[in-house]
Amino acid sequence: MSSNGIIGQLQNGLWRDNPGLVQLLGLCPLLAVTTTLVNGLGLGIATLLVLTCSNALVAATRRWIIAEVRIPIYVLIIASLVTCIELIFKAWFPTLDRSLGIFIPLIVTNCAIVARAEVFASRNPVWPSIVDGIGMGAGFAALLIALGAFRELVGQASILSRLDMLTGGEPFAGLSFADGGLLLALLPPGAFFSLALAVAAKNVLDLRRRRLQGGLDRQGLRTPR
């Protein structure tokens, strides 16, 4: 784990070790709900909250957690937190809750969360665990937002449709740029294509950066010195 301070930890979650782009965890909700930016943002916020709280709770109780039953304990903690978040969404963002539907309760099964509890929070103090939760959650949310925005732009030629689900008020159709888009982007295969493009883009950027830093040839292999 290459973490040097809070910045390094956040960089880990957002880029280097991004749960969606690099670890490829939690892909089911990631692919299913990202048909619009607002949907992605909604699930992103919910996941970020659950991840941060579960990391904090697991880290706070790590002294008493017994190794043999740690997974049931994580599941208990995560499931309770998800239920709370679901109730809060139902109370304050009812339309968004309806739009995300089953994918809010399904955050329980997002393996990115139990993975952070096991890999990080169970071995670190509360404060770094919260930072880790925020970093990883933000990384996951950023990917959800990027995929949602991309698929909405390509599929519907609009952006920010149904922003009212977050802010309240009258239904908002979004900023439309053209009449209709490439339908494929909204269908399930479009989700896989979009994710593949995102992973490829990250790899290209990483490769270019490493090449700029020197020591790598065109294929990204380390050249002997």
Partner: protein, 211 residues
């Protein structure tokens, strides 16, 4: 594992379970009132557009009638009818029905009918039709549902209560004919049911609502 270790493990699990349950129970207490209110608002907001400009007394969900199958309305499950009155006289009935033959599964619709049998409005409540094609039955995506406003069994005549592709009077959607066909048929069947059971629909006592 010794007996002591086992009881320690069990106790730890129990304590954590208790704390988690308290957390959920607390959140529930804080949110339950708002959630009930939201559910009612969402229901009213999704149904109200199908009433068009109908004027009525009280709330939309005051007089609910739940019909158990077989009820003769489209759909295989129980059907719900919301009745509204003005000065004690029937103002309109909202039928929540299901078109079973959508392109990718059932389509839940709400049809408002006034006592004369004229459609006050049609809205789509739930569907899984193809995005960009069949989903244009939603009022948010196209004007398709509005063509039913003011229609009745005599307008057009029963034989022409179908989409154009089937020799009827109703527009279909480019690239999707199964979806509009299913919805058009369901609306027609609701009107046929209403014509045959009109007095009963308004006269029957409201079904007890259990939360």
């Amino acid at each position: 594992m010794s007996a002591r270790a086992i009881s320690r493990t069990g106790l730890t699990l129990a304590v954590i379970a208790a704390v988690c349950t308290a957390l959920v129970a607390g959140t529930y207490r804080l949110t339950s009132e708002r959630i009930t209110e939201n559910t009612r608002l969402l229901l009213e907001r999704s149904l109200a557009p199908a009433l068009g400009a109908t004027v009525y007394d009280g709330a939309l969900i005051d007089s609910v009638l739940v019909l158990q199958p077989p009820h003769g309305l489209p759909g295989s499950g129980p059907a719900t009818v919301y009745r509204v009155f003005a000065d004690g006289r029937p103002a309109a009935a909202l039928f929540v029905a299901t078109a079973m033959d959508g392109y990718s599964g059932p389509i839940r619709i709400v049809v408002g009918v006034d006592p004369a049998g004229i459609v006050t409005g049609l809205r789509i409540l739930e569907h899984r039709e193809t995005p960009g094609l069949g989903d244009r039955i939603e009022s948010a995506r196209s004007d398709w549902v509005y063509q039913f406003d003011g229609r009745s069994l005599g307008n057009p005549e029963p034989g022409r209560w179908a989409i154009r592709g089937d020799g009827g009077d109703f527009d279909q959607l480019t690239g999707a004919s199964i979806t509009p066909r299913a919805v058009t048929r369901a609306v027609r069947d609701v009107l046929i049911y209403f014509a045959a059971n009109r007095d009963e629909v308004f006269a029957r006592p409201a079904t007890e609502q259990s939360q």
